[in-house]
């Protein structure tokens, strides 16, 4: 499975910093995961290189979230990685102690959840909470943090960074909360960003903003992203590689364009057929705009 490069990435999304072949930052090697002794994820193997985006797609209960929780040590008391290895660079995450893994989570492995708003404390400002998370991993003054946060927000297209920092989470819209969740993860500049359904709770306009922000993060920082979603549109817009899961098993894995345009597995075919597609007249100006934006012509 080794040897995937970021060359595809350069072609698709303009990540141009690394023209040379990069090493994998994350590698799942025949991973099985069980909950209460029942195997829920079987034989999962994939690799993610620097600056690469892997989309994991499947229906509810297919085990896609479990796969990324295993890397972050978030399986809980009843969950266990029973076979295989999860490699982050040269570290086997399944063998690390909780203490060592906790130090990696944040500066090396970041995570964005479906509902970022719910992961913030409602009675403290965004700034207090983000500052606390950064300070837990490295010494930083409040001033320095503010500068860094404002710079990050500017670079990731989040306007009004100052106002956002001073706000309480409930004062922000769902989309803004989600973007703050992304900023919270990115402040520690992780090498790998796990995103669990980051756009599922958002409407189409905000969803597009979040997708663009994540692509910008990859372009700016070269972050590898593992994106779990059931939204094929988001996968199509972002992923370089895609892994399709059903009932805890890998159905299909490969280049996103190839899998989405000519699926081999019966389940992938059914999944793609079920996606409602916007039917646009080829003579319509909307068609031209969407073609230019890259939404049409890739499926």
């Amino acid at each position: 499975m080794r040897g995937c490069t970021c060359r595809q990435t350069v072609n698709r999304c303009g990540y141009s910093e690394g023209d040379e072949i990069m090493d994998d930052v994350l590698r799942y090697d025949h991973v099985d995961i069980s909950y209460n002794g029942r195997k829920v994820v079987k034989e999962i193997s994939f690799t993610v290189s620097e600056g690469e985006i892997l989309g994991i797609v499947g229906e509810s209960g297919s085990g896609k979230s479990t796969v990324i929780k295993a890397a972050m040590g978030l399986l809980g008391q009843n969950g266990l990685c029973t076979r295989g290895d999860i490699w982050y660079r040269d570290k086997n995450l399944t063998e690390l102690s909780a203490e060592v893994l906790r130090k990696l989570c944040g500066p090396e492995l970041g995570m964005i959840f479906q509902n970022s708003g719910a992961s913030f404390c409602p009675v403290r400002t965004v700034e207090d909470q983000l500052y606390e998370s950064v300070k837990a991993h490295r010494p930083v003054s409040r001033e320095e943090f503010r500068r860094e946060a404002a710079e990050l927000m500017r670079r990731t297209g989040l306007e009004e960074g100052g106002r956002v920092l001073k706000s309480y989470p409930f004062e922000l819209s769902g989309g803004m909360q989600q973007r703050v969740g992304i900023a919270a993860a990115m402040l520690l500049k992780p090498a790998v960003l796990f995103a669990d359904e980051p756009t599922s709770a958002l409407d189409t306009i905000t969803q597009k903003q979040v997708v663009e922000e994540m692509l910008l993060i990859r372009k700016t920082f070269g972050t590898a992203i593992v994106l779990v979603t059931h939204n094929i549109g988001v996968i199509r817009a972002m992923a370089d590689k895609v892994l399709v899961m059903k009932d805890g098993i890998m159905c299909e894995y490969g280049d996103a364009r190839q899998v989405l345009s000519s699926p081999q597995h019966q389940y992938t075919k059914a999944l793609l057929e079920a996606v409602p597609k916007l039917k646009i007249n080829t003579k319509s100006p909307v068609h031209l705009e969407r073609s230019l934006a890259g939404h049409i012509g890739f499926l």
């Binding site: 229906e59 509810s60 209960g61 819209s173 769902g174 989309g175 958002l202 409407d203 189409t204 306009i205 905000t206 969803q207 597009k208 997708v211 059931h230 939204n231 094929i232 549109g233 988001v234 199509r236 817009a237 059914a270 999944l271 057929e273 079920a274 996606v275 409602p276 597609k277 916007l278 039917k279 646009i280 007249n281 319509s284 100006p285 909307v286 068609h287 705009e289 969407r290 934006a293 939404h295």
Partner: protein, 263 residues
């Protein structure tokens, strides 16, 4: 179908919804979520309402189904003004109008079995327990559910199965209008497709035929399923028409952005 001569199932006129300000009276913080919205829904028609979060879709629906009081305007269901209906009147109204919500599991009583939940409306309308059970099993079959699930509790079945049960429950009282508020948003695409096909099939059957008000933020789904669509932005209707026309030639800037947002 000659729709011109038909009376609309639902007529909404100048409906306005205002969330009162702090302490329920501060006019400075009052917020108009729905602003003079008017539309009609004809028998057998499926009308989609699209818009981003906060555009007023759910407030509009909540006023129609009387979960919220309208500040202004009227809602006429099957020729009857229901804008201020309460108590017993509401029970009668809910035999003509039923809802299917976003989270199927949450819309069922967790302590009652699916057939109990489906048959509740029938028992309330005077049917005996036995008859109600038989009818709920017929409805389950109609909605593609295995009758063996009749004794299951909502948490024991999948989201898709539970949503089918919610549709069966809504159809039990043979409503003229079915309101689906993001009814497929929480489901996987494969299940979503099944539910849409089920609704489409049921709607076209003469016996169960009903109109649908379909609230959704997925434009592609609305195009596939609805006869007509309203685009709601900041509580106002900014565009209205056939989905294909609106998608291919949007007039309003907001509609253009909404379509551009579809990935």
């Amino acid at each position: 179908m000659n729709v011109i001569k038909m009376e609309p199932v639902l007529r909404v006129e100048n409906l306005t919804g205002i969330y009162k300000g702090k302490n329920g009276r501060d006019p400075k913080t009052a917020f108009t979520a729905v602003d003079h919205v008017s539309f009609e829904l004809m028998p057998g028609e499926c009308l989609g309402i699209i818009g981003e979060s906060g555009s007023g879709k759910s407030t509009l629906v909540n006023m129609i189904i009387r979960l919220l009081d309208a500040a202004e305007g009227s809602v006429i269901l099957d020729g009857e003004d229901i804008t201020t209906a309460r108590g017993k009147e509401l029970r009668k109204i809910y035999r003509k109008m039923q809802m299917v919500f976003q989270s199927p599991q949450e819309s069922f009583d967790p302590r009652r079995t699916l057939s109990d939940g489906i048959g509740e409306g029938l028992r309330n309308s005077g049917m005996s327990g036995r008859e109600a059970k038989e009818e709920s099993i017929r409805l389950m079959k109609l909605c593609g559910l295995d009758p063996e699930l009749a004794g299951c509790y909502p948490h024991e079945v999948s989201g898709g199965q539970c949503q089918r049960a919610a549709i069966a429950r809504a159809l039990a009282v043979k409503p003229k209008l079915l309101i689906c508020d993001e009814a497929t948003s929480a489901l996987d695409v494969t299940i979503q497709k099944e539910i849409i096909e089920l609704l489409d099939e049921l709607r076209s059957r003469e016996k169960e035929g009903f109109s649908i008000l379909f609230i959704c933020h997925d434009i592609a789904l609305v195009q596939q399923f609805c006869d007509r669509v309203l685009v709601l932005y900041k509580g106002r209707i900014v565009e209205e028409g056939c989905p294909d026309d609106i998608i291919n030639d949007p007039k309003d800037e907001y509609t253009k952005r909404l379509i551009a947002g579809v990935l």
